[in-house]
């Protein structure tokens, strides 16, 4: 049974690849490279030593930007959610910043950090920071008062209450928020790399088009982005299987 669960999407993707191949082979206009050309492109990247280099570069930027956002955004969101008055004060500001696409910050991040890793990392930080802050805020606000009251009733100090009630109560929602935000960060790294740097998968796509219209490499870059995004999501999802967190995902 377990095999067939895995087999189904694999078989479906294989069928799509075959269809893609046939469709490209049957027409003469150059709309899209076929799957074989794309695979060859990926092999070529690997042979030139660019595959690992670009993937590492992109992951490096996401890791730093996303981690920094989590380290600052989550505690801030928890604090805002915990002290209701600060939520009233800060919420309008958050709602003003939220609709500004992280990509709108590209000129400013280049102005501040120049063209390079820091600019890209800063953009990912910006893209992840508010979603994580808001997730943490909402997670705190949705803790049932009975749990907080029970914690206080057993004589917990404020610090103990945070460690033993607040943190475990918000953990499941935080993990969902982290998973969704990592997806956003991964989207933004590609866009940031198209402008602010000269390595990484986003750069690969722009560069392959500019330097010789290598559309096989453009699509190869897209495929790699998709596959890595899938792996990141699977990795985050596996956290949801942790036993002491699972209560947060059941529909009760």
């Amino acid at each position: 049974m377990k095999l067939s669960v895995w087999l189904r999407p694999v078989a479906f993707v294989a069928a799509l690849l075959v269809l893609w191949h046939i469709a490209i082979a049957r027409q003469t206009v150059h709309l899209l490279p076929g799957p074989v050309a794309v695979a060859a492109g990926i092999v070529e990247l690997a042979r030139r030593g660019l595959l690992l280099k670009y993937v590492t570069a992109s992951l490096f930027r996401v890791t730093w930007g996303f981690t920094a956002a989590a380290v600052f955004g989550i505690p801030l969101g928890l604090a805002i959610g915990w002290y209701r008055r600060s939520e009233m004060a800060l919420n309008p500001l958050i709602q003003i910043f939220r609709p500004i696409s992280p990509l709108a910050w590209i000129p400013i991040s280049i102005l501040w950090f120049g063209v390079g890793d820091m600019a890209a990392i800063f953009l990912i930080f910006l893209a992840s920071f508010l979603p994580l802050t808001v997730t943490a805020m909402n997670a705190v606000a949705s803790i049932p008062p009975v749990h907080i009251n029970a914690g206080r009733n057993f004589g917990l100090s404020q610090a103990q209450l945070i460690a033993r009630v607040l943190y475990p109560a918000v953990a499941p929602q935080l993990i969902i928020g982290l998973r969704i935000t990592l997806g956003i960060a991964w989207l933004v790294v590609v866009a940031a790399e198209m402008i602010a740097v000269n390595s990484g998968l986003g750069f690969l796509i722009v560069d392959a088009r500019n330097a010789g219209t290598r559309y096989d490499l453009v699509v190869a870059g897209m495929v790699l982005i998709g596959l890595i995004g899938l792996l990141l999501d699977i990795g985050m999802r596996s956290l949801e299987g942790v036993k002491s967190l699972r209560w947060g995902y059941s529909e009760d």
């Binding site: 749990h147 029970a150 009733n153 004589g155 209560w247």
Partner: protein
Amino acid sequence: MEATTVVGVRPIVSHGLKVERALRVKLRAEGVSMIFTRDSDQVRVLDNISLEVGEGEFVCLLGPSGCGKSTLLNVVAGFISPTQGQVRIGGESVHGPDPRRIFVFQERGVFPWLTVEGNIGFGLSKLPKAERTHRIAHYITMVGLLGFEKAYPQELSGGMKQRLEVARALAVNPDMLFLDEPFGALDSITRLIMRGELLRIWEAERKTILFVTHDIEEAVQLADRVVVMSARPARIQGVVNIDIDHPRDISSRRYLELRDGIFEQIGLAHKV
């Protein structure tokens, strides 16, 4: 030593025959009023409530839904401060929740991220490990959760979660328990079993219990005294001594007499 009386209220059923042990007063609420302000509207929820509960006594607060009896329990437990009046427990005035007095919520109060063991041990973190393990094991047995030590609450039934919460409360050895409609969400069979369990535990450990319910039968089955409250703003309408020994025969004449007395007190003809 003071006799257990209710300040300012005359018991509606008084039986001269009842020879009460002279109970030491455990809890005394004096002139407690509670006014909530919502959008500049003032809602009076509790109106000048005075009440005494003796040590080791089982008292039910009985009233219609939404009358404010839960608010009174929250005031007494120290979760909210009254607008007027004060609550004294064991001579000290109440300024916040205290591990010597545990509030049992409906079964939702157990921590879903902890196992049965983790929940029962929640209030025991200051104890040495051996003592802690011993107590957890003792209360797991007492509430009949043997074999479920490592289970998470979502794997338990409603009745089991409720027993777990009672066990978590008892494990810290409080002198008082506040129970807020603890069996309200259970099916009627489980509810009957739970009442029996609670009485058994109460008789074994002699905690002072303040129990909120809107169920007249439940109040008469459990309590030494039933404090009947009016609809909002809650006032004490009367206090009924339930002078029947446990285990109570719930078809005995005296039981029915007391029960019907309360029905009348609340203004309900006992007919459907």
